[in-house]
């Protein structure tokens, strides 16, 4: 197949995705906030997806991750994880720029250049040693900076907990990822492979935590939901006391007032 032929549909696909992204971001910006600080109108469908994800984890992902952790010692897993992080840096640069954070965009570019060369394609991380740490970001955060509301809680197949805003962000990140845009197969699959390997490493390293949430809690769906939403809001710099006037969901709400 000539590259010209594969290019056109890929381009079309990307622009369609971007259109969808923009259209969906409009949907995501609603002002709905429920009494519990959790807006989950599609709870029934989400719960079904949660059961699907649990099955995927139980029969596929968790055993695969155990195998991966068994085969590769910690230092090797760490270097794979660094490589996966490294591959997402160009995407971070794009998002920092879109958020108007040029300082981080420049810092991340430096990080990418240093670790690509001195860090041998990102398998090592000399940049952190000279105080250029990773500042992880994504298009979901960009949408947040642009003023898009969180929207509804969503549980995505394979990816797990998300929101309508972050789902749009995830699609945009895939569409905008320079590794997907610039390289052709098989190189473009390196990013995907690194992502999956990194996810397996995390699944292995945090095995006890993940098992306790998924298999030991009374309602693993509700646990995953509240953990994700709180942590995501924290990552986006939304602090409880600034944003949530909602006593049900604000950790800074004084519980002593209730009794």
């Amino acid at each position: 197949m000539s590259s010209r032929k594969t290019k056109a549909p890929a381009k079309l696909g990307r622009s369609l995705l971007l259109c969808a992204v923009l259209a969906l971001s409009a949907c995501a910006s609603n002002d709905q906030v429920s009494r519990t600080g959790i807006y989950d109108p599609k709870e029934d469908a989400n719960r079904k997806m949660h059961e699907f994800n649990k099955d995927v984890d139980r029969y596929l992902f968790s055993p695969a991750s155990n195998g991966y952790g068994f085969l590769f010692p910690q230092p090797v897993r760490n270097s794979f994880s660094r490589f996966a992080d490294h591959l997402s840096l160009p995407n971070d640069v794009i998002n920092h720029t879109l958020q108007g954070d040029l300082e981080e965009a420049v810092g991340t570019t430096w990080r990418f250049l240093i670790n690509s060369t001195v860090g041998i394609a990102g398998f090592f991380d000399p940049a952190s040693a000279i105080d250029i740490p990773r500042d992880d970001t994504d298009f979901g955060e960009t949408l947040h900076v642009w003023g898009v509301q969180e929207g509804a809680y969503v549980e995505l197949p394979f990816f797990g907990p998300s929101t309508s805003r972050d789902t749009v962000g995830l699609m945009a990140d895939i569409a905008l990822n320079p590794f997907v845009v610039i390289f052709r197969d098989p190189t473009q699959y390196i990013g995907v492979a690194a992502y999956v390997v990194d996810a397996m490493g995390n699944r292995y390293d945090f095995d006890d935590t993940i098992d306790s949430i998924l298999y030991e809690s009374a309602d693993s769906y509700a646990q995953a939901r509240i953990l994700y939403l709180q942590n995501r809001r924290f990552d986006l710099g939304i602090s409880g006391e600034d944003i949530y006037t909602d006593p049900e969901f604000n950790p800074y709400e004084d519980p002593y007032e209730d009794f």
Binding site: Q74, N78, P133, D208, T209, S212, E216, S217, A218, D219, A222, Q223, R225, I226, L227, Q230, N231, R232, R233, F234, D235, G240, E241, F249, P251, Y252, D254, P255, Y256, D258, F259
Partner: protein, 203 residues
Amino acid sequence: MKIFDLITRRGFIASAGATALAFALPGTAFALNDAQAKALIDRAVADINKVISSGKSVNAMIRDFERIFAKYGDVQIIARSALGPDARGLSSSQLNAYTKAFQGYMARKYGKRFNEFVGGQIDVKGSRKVKSFYEVKTSVKLRGQSPFEVNFLVSDRSGKDKFFDMIIEGISLRLSEKAEIGAMLDRNGGNINGLINDLKKAG
């Protein structure tokens, strides 16, 4: 360089002045309580670090953790707020049984994870006043991981200085347990005795 020097010196003078002022005025309990809140978490953290480095068995660590939780944490308010408004309708013996079961459940659930903290370190960073209570910021460094933020919320409204929540990277222990206890109560059709029995087995 000079300007930089001046600014930092000014900043230093200003903060030193404010601290002196706060101590000089007994009416401004702010700095004192602030220090007390930090001192409480300092002591709790020292105890936790001791358990982590003790090399004890998991069951012994769970017992130690329960003791620390009851000593420094306001178990009553954490348990009640996890149960929500339903707690108001309980008899005092039901409430006691529930609180006791909740304390054991928390100790088992989180105490058995203490072995993950071996080789780790918690550092108290500082504190600030929020509403009627104080937030004490700590930084937790676990082996092979970058440090993350854990904040304790401290109040004296129980009559003693105690923490009533622990917020790990934005995740409130109290609110997460509220979701979990709510789910257990639902599973028992709202029956408190069923919930208490579940709690005794869980964690």
